[in-house]
Symmetry: C2
Subunit: 269 residues, 2 copies
């Protein structure tokens, strides 16, 4: 009897309403480097051979467009496009419910990714998959080059409360990866807590399964989360640096400028 | 008798050796958007009317070039270019010593800035100066859009230790601003501590003057610290977005392309 391979499922969360962005143009659909942000995010997993399945979580405002984009691009691993909820947590739960219904084994590897982090590197995705052989939870994170300040309120101002040692401060990125049984259990425990409103899946494990170590997987500065329109110039810069055509185009533009100069001199004589 | 205005001094730290950068091309001298990084940093203060004086701290490898750049640009507020030390702390101390020798009053406002943060916004500089009317210490910081993870070592891996509430997590940027008497006192107390090796001036106040609140001043995503070559595409993207000539140049390039097309068709007939 042949051993069945354990599924490695990417969940791409694209259900945010991006209230800090243009209301009429949801940020996951905005193009960067000529491609909608959500497509960059899906392709990162579509193009990784070790990912077996992709689930995309959407809201009602983007559902139709995301459906069309996926059809047009012909992504072969997208198994379902499911409606998410008001909070990030609800969107994760929607995906976990679907996987439960599909009877996925508790040992399956689940990588949950922010749909507005278009530039996740393949080595980070691989790092998540590998880390789950040793740990039941892992998260991509990027060592903070900035010193992190923990603050508290003093009247109407924020003031510094403490300054943790820099080598132990990381910026959480995504994907965040879990054995299916582990993330389901953490969310079940959390559901019983009325004060539960995490912004991050890793935190659900850290808070509700405190004995379960969550491993850090190397992220990158470029794996940024597009949150406000002011992130767009940075995102365009990264997209440009990733484009192999970029150097070619620049050379062409320089050549054109030389031709144009010759052309204009010829006509001015 | 006319009241003499209290000095507002910017200290630009450009003494880093940037070991994560090209060794033969110190990062503070690398050009971004056609201008050396250190010049962007100096100009941010040169162009702010409320800054009275600028001190630039250098190392022996960049001293001559920085001197030339400052002469060429004709920055009018640069009062001294002083040699720094091996550690960041030594560079801050070199500047404080110079200010002591100059007999600067203890109420003077001192803004200490990383020379490799070229894109600090004027409103952040103003925010520092204003905050020192209410507090003796303030730091520019940017609310973290990423969840911050505090880590610990587990064997050869980093694992998550705790996840602070996101609204109370900030990425320290610069300038970091102090009444002169406050930062001098903090460094005097720190000098007596053999374990003293902070990477950040704010931390010296937080650790050695714990009763002195340090106010948070709004920074920006674009006020990044250029640390590794991988930061350069992002920096170039920001520089491009700040350049008013950018749009004009793009239009010109398109026009050239049209001419060149016409030129090449003419010759292929």
């Amino acid at each position: 009897m042949q051993e069945q391979k354990m599924p490695v499922v990417a969940v791409v969360l694209a259900a945010g309403f991006g209230t800090r962005f243009d209301e009429n143009n949801p940020k996951q659909l905005v193009s960067v480097g000529g491609k909608p942000i959500v497509c960059w995010s899906i392709e990162a997993f579509e193009n990784n051979d070790r990912i077996s399945d992709i689930i995309v979580v959407v809201n009602e405002r983007v559902e139709e467009t995301v459906n069309e984009l996926i059809d047009e691009a012909g992504y072969a691993k997208v198994r379902a496009i499911v409606p998410g909820g008001a909070e990030r947590v609800d969107s994760t739960l929607a995906a976990l419910d679907l996987l439960k219904q599909a009877g996925i084994p508790s040992g399956a590897k689940i990588l949950i990714h922010d749909g507005v982090r278009p530039f996740v590197e393949e080595r980070s995705i691989d790092g998540c998959i590998d880390s789950l052989d040793q740990f039941n939870a892992a998260t991509v994170a990027y060592a903070s080059t900035d010193t992190i300040l923990l603050t508290e309120d003093l009247g109407d101002r924020k003031v510094v409360k403490s300054v943790p040692e820099r080598p132990n401060t990381f910026r959480a990125q995504t994907p965040q990866a879990f054995r299916f049984g582990t993330i389901v259990k953490a969310y079940e425990l959390a559901a019983a807590d009325p004060d539960f409103h995490p912004t991050d899946d890793t935190r659900v494990v850290v808070d509700y399964l405190p004995d379960e170590p969550v491993a850090i997987v190397d992220g990158s500065e470029t794996n940024l989360k597009i949150t406000t329109p002011s992130d767009m110039p940075i995102a365009e810069g990264i997209a440009r640096s990733l484009d192999p055509e970029h150097a070619k185009e620049e050379a062409k533009a320089r050549m054109h400028a030389v031709f144009a100069e010759a052309f204009s001199q010829m006509h001015s004589r």
